[in-house]
């Protein structure tokens, strides 16, 4: 298990990186943290001619606050997000969910952009990004554009990222005052890929009814799934037991997870309902407690 031969390129600026991508395009692979790419290299499942290591591109790192969003550079590491007081304050869902990503040693190398670009159907970041209705800013030497998760994630490990593009930054909308959030996941062992996961943000009105609901399920489909009908169903309702239970199973039939040795399609579908219910309870509880000041 040793990587095959490749040429190693290490740009020091975004411009340099994009020019390299423009030049080597198809035969190049961007490496950010390398935590998904290097295992593939070690197993020789990936044999790019060029590796463009964007680890030194400072413009792609960092966590910034904009009016309504936390903007995280693609090259920002999980650990930086995990420890960010800003993220904890404005978008605590992210702080909670990111702890489920692998283990310490992975989070200290792995990046937000890398995880989004890898588009693993059970990865935590794509799910949270989708729930929050965030945006992905991608850039090539020619243009920059902003995509929604639905536009970006195509299928298992597949995104709309072209060979000459990379992820510049990701925008995670802040969680509004009066909202509650929850991230629920089950995996066979701690740190494993999720069987399924749910990210949810609920906003309560002064009268206790749900003003807004944003939910995404991961591992339940080929891309993060937004249960729109469930969200609509919840809005305007008082989230009591029966409403939550009904909401949790409303769209299970629409889920189309793949079965594998760790869980069948049916089990994952069923489990999605269990986790969604738990997430809704927790989000409601947090909204009532007013955890977001």
């Amino acid at each position: 298990m040793k990587p095959p031969k490749f040429s190693y390129l290490r740009p020091n600026s975004l411009l340099e990186a994009l020019n390299m991508l423009a030049e080597y395009g198809d035969d190049a692979k961007i490496m950010s943290g390398g935590q998904s790419l290097i295992p593939l290299l070690n197993m020789r499942l990936s044999t790019p001619g060029y590796i463009i290591d964007i680890g030194r591109v400072e413009e792609l790192k960092g966590i910034r606050e904009k009016e309504d969003a936390i903007v995280i550079g693609g090259m920002t590491r999980h650990v930086d997000v995990e420890k960010s007081a800003l993220v904890q304050e404005k978008c605590p869902l992210l702080t909670e969910g990111i702890r489920w990503v692998g283990h310490n040693q992975i989070r200290s190398r792995g990046t937000i952009g890398g995880s989004i670009a890898h588009a693993d159907p059970s990865a935590e970041l794509p799910c949270m990004l989708t729930a929050l209705r965030g945006e992905i800013v991608i850039v090539s030497s020619e243009e920059e554009m902003t995509l929604s998760p639905e536009e970006f994630f195509l299928s298992y490990l597949l995104t709309s990222l072209e060979p000459n593009q990379l992820i510049k930054e990701i925008r995670f909308p802040k969680i509004k005052k009066g909202s509650g959030y929850a991230f629920e996941e089950v995996a066979r062992r701690h740190g494993d890929f999720a069987l399924v996961e749910v990210a949810a943000v609920l906003e309560l009105d002064y009268d206790g009814t749900i003003a807004d609901a944003k939910i995404a399920l991961g591992g339940a489909n080929s891309v993060p799934f937004i249960p729109e009908a469930t969200e609509e169903f919840l809005i305007g309702k008082l989230p009591d037991d029966s409403i939550i239970k009904e909401a949790a199973t409303l769209q299970l039939d629409e889920l189309d997870p793949e079965g594998d040795i760790h869980g069948s399609k049916e089990y994952r579908r069923y489990l999605s309902g269990v986790l969604l219910e738990r997430a809704l309870y927790k989000a409601v509880e947090r909204a009532r407690e007013g955890v977001i000041a």
Partner: protein, 158 residues
């Protein structure tokens, strides 16, 4: 571009060496520098035996190219004990608590824990310790003596 000259500070000493860019940091440390205390267990980022500190933070050296460490600082298990052989408190605590059997995974645990203890100055709960070591597999000890050792390391440091 398939070869690269790197300058890496390894255990306090600056190493200046040409290396094939595809070489993993784990192999570089072991084969090119003779630092065989860093062990290779799975090479796909699960077992944690190859954990070293990169600029003080735990990383899996099998999931990193040596060239990526260019200009950075690496610490391996060989850096833990003092020059006269005196154990680092974590090593001492592992020895006191029979926290290792075959010893193959041990360097990875020690390096993970060095960072953990430094970044968590207040004695953590058992559950927190368990989570902190969950990125390191041990097939011999069943972990409970490792958890005891981590707790004792806090006491020894005081």
């Amino acid at each position: 571009m398939s070869n690269y000259t790197v300058k890496i500070k390894v255990n306090g000493k600056v190493i200046d060496k040409e290396i094939e860019s595809r070489w993993l940091l784990s192999d570089f440390l072991r084969d090119k520098l003779g630092l065989t205390g860093t062990h290779v267990g799975c090479e796909h980022g699960v077992c944690g035996a190859c954990t070293v500190l990169l600029n003080g933070e735990p990383v899996r050296s099998c999931l990193m190219l040596a060239v990526q460490a260019d200009g950075l600082e690496v610490e391996t298990v060989e850096s833990l004990a003092e020059e006269d052989g005196t154990f680092h408190p974590i090593q001492q605590a592992f020895a006191n608590n029979h926290a290792l059997q075959c010893g193959f995974c041990t360097p990875g645990f020690l390096m993970s824990m060095k960072n953990f203890i430094e970044t968590h100055p207040v004695l953590p709960t058992d559950e927190e310790i368990r989570e902190a070591i969950s990125g390191n597999l041990c097939r011999c000890t069943g972990y409970s003596n490792i958890i005891k050792a981590v707790k004792e390391a806090y006491a020894l440091k005081c």
